[in-house]
Amino acid sequence: MQLDRKVIGHEFEAFTATAEAGKVKLFCKAIGEEDPIYTDAAAAKAAGYKAVPVPPTFLQALTNDDPGKGGLLRLLDVDIGLILHGEQHYDYYAPVHVGDTITCQQKVTDLYDKKGGALWFVVSETSMKDQAGKLVAKATGITVVRNPDAGKK
């Protein structure tokens, strides 16, 4: 397997995802988050929020709402069973609340290999803007692709 650096700079189609209350609730249950500010409007108001905020890493649920999901794997022509998550970083510029509609635009920013091509690292950046067009966050992820041909010679 050889991945092609020509994918660097590739921009995926932008899409818009809504921060839905029910999804936030399920997300909180999964991570064991019990703070009522994420599920109860009155608790959020009492804590000084104008609306129910989403947990910091709930942004992943928004970026996963991509109707063209799996685009990176198709671009690389890689099977989902071969990937691991290497790194994830979020920069938060403004809060995201339940009900916000967030437009996500992902692009590939780097690709490199390690261990003589046994592992490939694909870096992508996603800008996230709210319904007013304001940049609310930047998500940077590194996907690791395990080379199924490694050590096979």
Binding site: P56, T57, A61, D65, L82
Partner: protein, 140 residues
């Protein structure tokens, strides 16, 4: 309610109160599959995981990053979180008992805002770090 950290009272080296989580369950992985929209079968379908050379399903890295988010928001309010990032350094298996810990690594001012830098991590029952992360929160 979590109070905003007071810049003048925070010292580099201050430890965050650790959180010991219950063991990771398959049920939790199914919930996270739905809640996060990460439907990669490797986390919920043992047949699929075995086909790709793994002994069992394993936790989404982002589930553990969600735990780091909980740790950071136990230290500062949600709207004070400016950055959260991590490396996923080893796999988290079903049954693993994860401890969340962190400490203050720096204090600085940027664009007129007082900021506190944190090192945060997830460590399993064998003392191995599964996530090595960092965060930045705004202080008062």
């Amino acid at each position: 309610m979590v109070a905003v950290p007071k810049f003048d009272q925070v010292k580099v080296g201050d430890a965050l109160t650790p959180i010991v989580l219950p063991p990771i369950t398959r049920h939790q992985l199914a919930l996270y599959c739905g809640g996060s929209g990460d439907h990669n079968p490797i986390h919920v379908d043992i047949d699929f995981a075995k086909k790709f050379g793994f002994k069992d399903v394993f936790a989404h890295g982002m589930l553990s990053m969600g735990f780091l988010g909980r740790l950071v928001t136990s230290y500062a309010p949600r709207d004070k979180v400016r950055r959260l990032g991590t490396r996923f350094t080893s796999i988290t298996w079903v049954g693993d008992v994860i401890t969340l810990s962190g400490k203050v690594t720096g204090k600085r001012e940027e664009n007129g805002e007082k900021l506190i830098d944190l090192e945060v991590k997830c460590t399993n029952q064998n003392g191995q770090d599964t996530l090595q992360g960092h965060a930045t929160v705004a202080a008062a």
